[in-house]
């Protein structure tokens, strides 16, 4: 890695503003879409622009990613990335992951609140006896919630079927990406490609099984976002995790393409390392999910 004494400061860049516009279009489009599909007030047909705006937003967002990361890659190939700048990138990624953790933490908070507070209260525990007697007399405190206070019934997920297999898959993948990293450090390009490929494959397996799992929940168990707080927490947690896995797989695929292009040196491979950190994070989240959503 080049020892440029100066900290590289790009002069100006179009990509950020492109990104902001894209983000705005996406958000505005999404809001309008939801808004139009579930119009609460009468006579709201004039939201035809919603879908186009939304997808344009996504498209531009993708464009921005390519453009932006492209620039960064070119800079690093030009050797503009000093050790200090590299550290900035790493710290940035780590703090980003911290924020992601807090996002999941909030949903876990909701899960624990439901399990330890609201559901017991609705069944009369913790000084909320009247709540039970007067408002929800025939509600029983069970977890998973087979019958909501409102009377929606559903069945619970099983831990030791697909979920467990998925756990094994993800844990393994966490190992394989580490192997890939070691290979990269030792400059074993073949090992790198092999293990990275395996990890991607495992990621895809996970997603496939998750999809099967969902259809099973939906079809056989009658479990949906609508089936009370159990369904809500289950789908929101696994769903957001799933979307993060998808993102991770995409990132790793891009890494693969770059590897094939011959990018990355044993010393200089921030992007690859960031991806692997992200993958580990996704993996750890899953372990919590498996423990608290499926198992106990």
């Amino acid at each position: 890695m080049s020892e440029t004494p100066r900290y590289y400061v790009p002069h100006s860049s179009v990509w950020p503003i492109v990104g902001s516009v894209a983000l705005f279009l996406t958000a505005f489009g999404a809001a309008s879409l939801i808004h139009q599909s579930t119009a609460k007030v009468a006579g709201e047909a004039h939201f035809g622009f919603a879908a186009p705006v939304f997808y344009t937003g996504l498209a531009v967002l993708a464009l921005m990613m390519f453009g932006w990361f492209g620039t960064v890659i070119r800079e690093s190939l030009q050797g503009l990335v000093s050790r200090q700048l590299d550290r900035s990138y790493r710290m940035g990624m780590l703090w980003f992951i911290v924020s992601e953790v807090m996002f999941f933490a909030a949903f876990f908070g909701a899960l624990f609140y439901a399990r330890m507070i609201s559901v017991p209260w609705l069944a009369g525990a913790g000084g909320k006896l009247e709540t039970h007697l007067i408002l929800w007399p025939d509600f029983a405190d069970t977890w998973p919630l087979f019958m909501t206070p409102g009377g929606t019934a559903s069945e619970a997920m099983q831990a030791w079927g697909l979920p467990f297999i998925n756990t094994v898959i993800l844990v393994t993948s966490s190992g394989t990406i580490t192997f890939a990293h070691w290979a990269l450090k030792r400059n074993h390009r073949f090992g790198l490609k092999l293990w990275l490929g395996v990890t991607i494959a495992l990621g895809i397996c996970f997603l496939t099984l998750q999809a099967i799992e969902y259809s099973h929940a939906w079809r056989e168990l009658g479990l949906s976002l609508g089936s009370g707080i159990y369904g809500s927490t289950f789908f929101m947690l696994t769903g957001f995790h799933g979307s993060h896995v998808t993102l991770g797989v995409i990132m790793m695929t891009i890494m693969m393409l770059r590897v094939l292009r011959g990018h990355f040196t044993p010393e200089n491979h921030f992007a690859f390392e960031a991806t692997s950190w992200y993958w580990h994070f996704v993996d750890v989240i899953w372990l919590f999910l498996f423990t608290f959503v499926y198992w106990f």
Binding site: K128, E130, T131, I134, L135, P149
Partner: protein, 375 residues
């Protein structure tokens, strides 16, 4: 509590001094009419006094320094910038003060949270924008709405003494009895608050919270909804009429009879054939009291928020859907189910009124019996 007493005195002097002028202005937290409200006021005086004292010390030092350590008086600044002992002291002293404040607060709170062995239980159900009081033991209840005329709110009439703090039917309670309140809500979160009792409890839909009070002075006490609950949050007063125990029991007995008679009268009224001429004026009253706040007195509603009734397809359309909408409401909107809230006659009257006002000339007369069978 000595300081508190002194302070209270000071406050009351200031207060009386001010109120001697035309307008009576309260500068202090209400003393109230319950043991707890007084303890809370004392707590307030105590914490306030502590803050004043600390303030005097801190700001005193600050202003002395501002005065005495100005450039014009001290050319050369000192250079000290640390003093472990001093810093330890001003970490410790505030901590001790806080402990001193926490103790009475804790004991008061523990008493507040003790809802056991009450003599009387009232289930308070809030909904947009009214209260329902259910006497659990006696087994009857009623709604309580704001009684301030629209005209006063719109600055068309002179405002009365209890502007916005007057209800058509107050909650009636006995003195010297431990009354337990169960609060809940139908739609959004409201909060039942009577300052003079020192009681504020949120009414959360789907849950029931508990609070209690024991009033020692008969009288009329007024409060307001204390949680933003939508459009008419400001117009959701609470009026409590506290009577001596014997008085209260008489009232309770009277209520039972009255209700018995009323229900008979209701049956009679329901079975009677009503004419348009009879229904319209009654309907107008009901409409103005319950419906006008959203749909407006002239039935034009509110752009995008509340549909207009003038020329509305439901109001001018088949009677069934009109009945259904009024009686069962529209889920998840301010349009609530009125069947449980209004009598057959009132419903018939208001629906007839809607179908024959503001250019809606269906000429239809809805009979209470029709409403009854639609229940």
């Amino acid at each position: 509590m000595r300081i508190a007493k002194l302070h209270a005195l000071g406050v009351s002097i200031v207060t009386s001094a001010w109120s001697s002028q035309a307008c009576a202005v309260a500068w202090d937290l209400r003393e109230g009419v319950t043991d707890m409200s007084r303890r809370i006021q004392a707590l307030h005086h105590m914490s306030f006094t502590v803050c004043v004292i600390v303030g005097i010390v801190v700001f005193g030092a600050m202003f002395y320094s501002i005065f005495a350590h100005r450039r014009s008086r001290r050319q050369e600044p000192a250079h000290f910038h640390e003093n472990s002992r001093l810093e330890a002291i001003w970490t410790l002293i505030p901590f001790l003060i806080l402990v001193g404040m926490a103790i009475p607060a804790t004991s008061a709170l523990m008493e507040i949270e003790d809802n056991s062995d009450a003599d009387l239980t009232v289930l308070i159900t809030a909904s947009q924008w009214k209260w329902h009081y259910q006497y659990v033991e006696a087994g009857f209840g009623y709604y309580s709405h704001i009684a301030t005329p629209r005209g006063q709110i719109d600055n068309k009439e002179r405002k009365g003494e209890h502007y916005l703090l007057e209800a058509d039917q107050p909650l009636v309670l006995p003195t010297d009895k431990k009354v337990r309140f169960l609060t809940t809500a139908r739609d959004v979160i409201h909060s039942w608050w009577v300052p003079d009792f020192g009681v504020k409890q949120d009414a959360v839909p789907g849950y029931i919270n508990e609070a209690w009070t024991r009033v020692d002075k008969p009288g009329v006490y007024r409060g307001q909804c204390a949680e933003l609950c939508g459009k008419d949050h400001a117009f959701m007063p609470i009026v409590v009429e506290v009577r001596r125990a014997a008085d209260f029991d008489r009232w309770l007995a009277g209520q039972r009879q009255a209700r018995a008679l009323a229900s008979q009268a209701a049956i009679a009224a329901r079975n009677k054939q009503w004419t348009m001429a009879e229904l319209l004026p009654l309907g107008e009253q009901v409409y103005l009291k319950h419906c006008a706040t959203c749909h407006q007195a002239d039935g034009v509603g509110q752009q995008g928020k509340y549909p207009a009734l003038a020329g509305s397809s439901i109001v001018t359309g088949p009677i069934e859907s009109h009945l259904n909408r009024v009686m069962n409401g529209k889920a998840d909107t301010e349009m609530q189910a009125w069947a449980p809230q209004l009598s057959d006659v009132d419903l018939a009257a208001v629906i007839t009124y809607e179908r024959n006002s503001w250019g809606n000339d269906t000429g239809v007369v809805v009979q209470p019996l029709t409403v009854y069978s639609a229940r």
